[in-house]
């Protein structure tokens, strides 16, 4: 057993806003942040349900810094500031005293909109004169680097680009580094901002995006529901402050929740199709890592994106891992209201799971009105549920490419 690791701060730039408590309240009520958004031009575009973030860097990042930061990086530094402030590590108008803090980030496409602009210059304007700063702005590692530079954090600054599992792996690796004594404190999470015209068009061609639901676009993300048509893309940045027990005791702060286990696996199977065996391996590994009995797990924040192929496989994997205990579990997909933030999704869901443990409240799967018979576990339809005894929860992220990651969190 290594050192205990706690979440002591949260910073969110999310489809539901920025205040963690009110974001959780809205999610708990099944209040969707999904809207119908026009992308592309009038004659060459598309209306899709998306979970965009109402974010502007104005007055939060200097104009000079903004010039060199893609949207994902801009959201990441503002979320990081919120996380550091909420943990008490960064006071108003102060700077970080102990710079030996690690930055462990997840990000899928980096500065996707900057790459799009570069290609527009080359292919549409037929010019080789793209912006000189295009390369450093499109790097997936941009958000982590900007956080490190902005706050003077000199610990390891790592980016995990593992599609939908990116930020769950980032948090898991930060957890391990702290548990094993390599560092005391880390900022960890994810950032993603790929809702530009070119990226959206590419996603549409993959055939996995949800169409607008007849009851309204905000009802389009429908994990476990027979009327689901696919996933709803989102964007945002979510940062957690992770600290070793010794560090937070020294500072005298109250943690939000404890991370007790992390497991990963690879399907070695398909670029896009999920595989129950791989998902089971990640969950089993995380539960073993947490040194708990599987019967102690009460809530699973599922990866479930709302695709007809993905949701039943995850339910099958959960049943295989938990066996008789599966029917006692609450299993919900909060993607039903905040969409799929890809590289930032695992971090948002870990944050929601941490708050769920802190408040003793299980968030629901919204829009679950016609349950798929294949998804016959307690999927907490519609509205959240009071659960004062909630102690141990699991958060799953399963990526394109077959990388699976699971975190286990415990109430403090």
């Amino acid at each position: 057993m290594g050192r205990r690791v706690f979440i002591t701060g949260l910073g969110l730039i999310a489809p539901h806003g920025e205040d963690p408590a009110s974001i959780f309240d809205r999610i708990y009520q099944g209040d969707s942040a999904v809207r119908l958004v026009r992308s592309g031009t009038a004659d060459f575009g598309s209306d899709l349900p998306l979970a965009t973030v109402d974010f502007t860097p104005k007055d939060r990042i200097s104009k000079k810094q903004q010039l060199f930061m893609a949207r994902a990086s801009q959201m990441a530094v503002v979320a990081a500031e919120g996380a550091l402030q909420s943990s008490g590590l960064l006071g108003e108008g102060q700077s970080i005293e102990d710079g030996e803090i690690g930055v462990y980030m997840g990000c899928g496409l980096g500065g996707a909109e900057i790459l799009q602009e570069g290609y527009r210059t080359y292919f549409v304007r037929q010019s080789r004169r793209g912006r000189p700063s295009t390369v450093p702005m499109i790097m997936a590692s941009g958000p982590a680097s900007h956080i490190s530079m902005r706050f003077g954090l000199h610990g390891p600054t790592h980016t995990y680009s593992i599609a939908c599992a990116s930020s769950t792996v980032a948090i898991g690796e930060a957890f391990r580094a702290i548990r094993d004594g390599y560092l005391d404190t880390a900022l960890s999470g994810g950032a993603e901002a790929m809702l530009n015209d070119g990226s959206i068009a590419a996603w549409e061609r993959l055939g996995v995006l949800a169409s607008s639901h007849m009851d309204g676009p905000e009802r389009s993300s429908r994990p476990f529901d027979l009327e689901r048509t696919g996933l709803v893309l989102g964007e945002g940045a979510v940062l957690l402050v992770l600290e070793a027990e010794s560090a937070l005791r020294e500072r005298g702060v109250d943690p939000i929740a404890e991370i007790i286990g992390y497991g990963v696996s690879s399907d070695a199977f398909s670029l896009t199709e999920p595989h129950a065996a791989g998902q089971e391996a990640a969950m089993r590994s995380a539960i073993t890592d947490a040194d708990i009995e599987r019967e102690e797990v009460q809530y699973v924040n599922a990866h479930a994106t709302g695709t007809p192929s993905g949701d039943p496989i995850e339910i099958e994997a959960i049943k295989n891992v938990f066996e008789d205990h599966a029917s006692n579990l609450a299993v919900s997909s909060t993607k039903s209201v905040h969409g799929h933030l890809v590289g930032a999704s695992g971090a948002l869901e870990a944050a929601i799971t941490a708050i769920a443990l802190q408040k003793g409240r299980i968030p629901p799967t919204a829009n679950l009105t016609h349950p798929d018979p294949c998804c016959d576990l307690d999927c907490v339809p519609g509205y959240g549920r009071e659960a004062p005894e909630l102690t141990v929860a699991v958060s799953n992220s399963f990526a394109f490419g077959g990388s699976n990651a699971t975190l286990v969190l415990r109430k403090v």
Binding site: S62, K63, K64, R129, R131, P132, S133
Partner: protein, 79 residues
């Protein structure tokens, strides 16, 4: 707009440079621009005046020297 006034305007508007600090003898480093920012800054200038600053001419130190170089390139282009 003269090259010097344009340089000054871009530095204030896009690079948060304090207007009081803009003087002919100030260098871009003095004004808080790192090497990537200088390259990006020159890119703006080139686009504005439809000129190209040759690599071997981009070794100016001060704002006044930069403005002289750009005025010269504009004049050459006009010929």
């Amino acid at each position: 707009m003269s090259a010097y006034s344009y340089l000054a305007k871009v530095l204030v508007d896009k690079y948060d440079v304090d207007e009081d600090k803009i003087r002919p003898e100030a260098t871009l480093t003095d004004l808080g621009l790192d090497s990537l920012m200088v390259v990006e800054f020159l890119f703006d200038v080139e686009d504005e005046f439809n000129i190209e600053v040759p690599d071997d001419r981009a070794e100016f130190e001060t704002l006044a020297e930069a403005a002289t170089l750009i005025d010269e390139l504009i004049e050459v282009k006009g010929d």
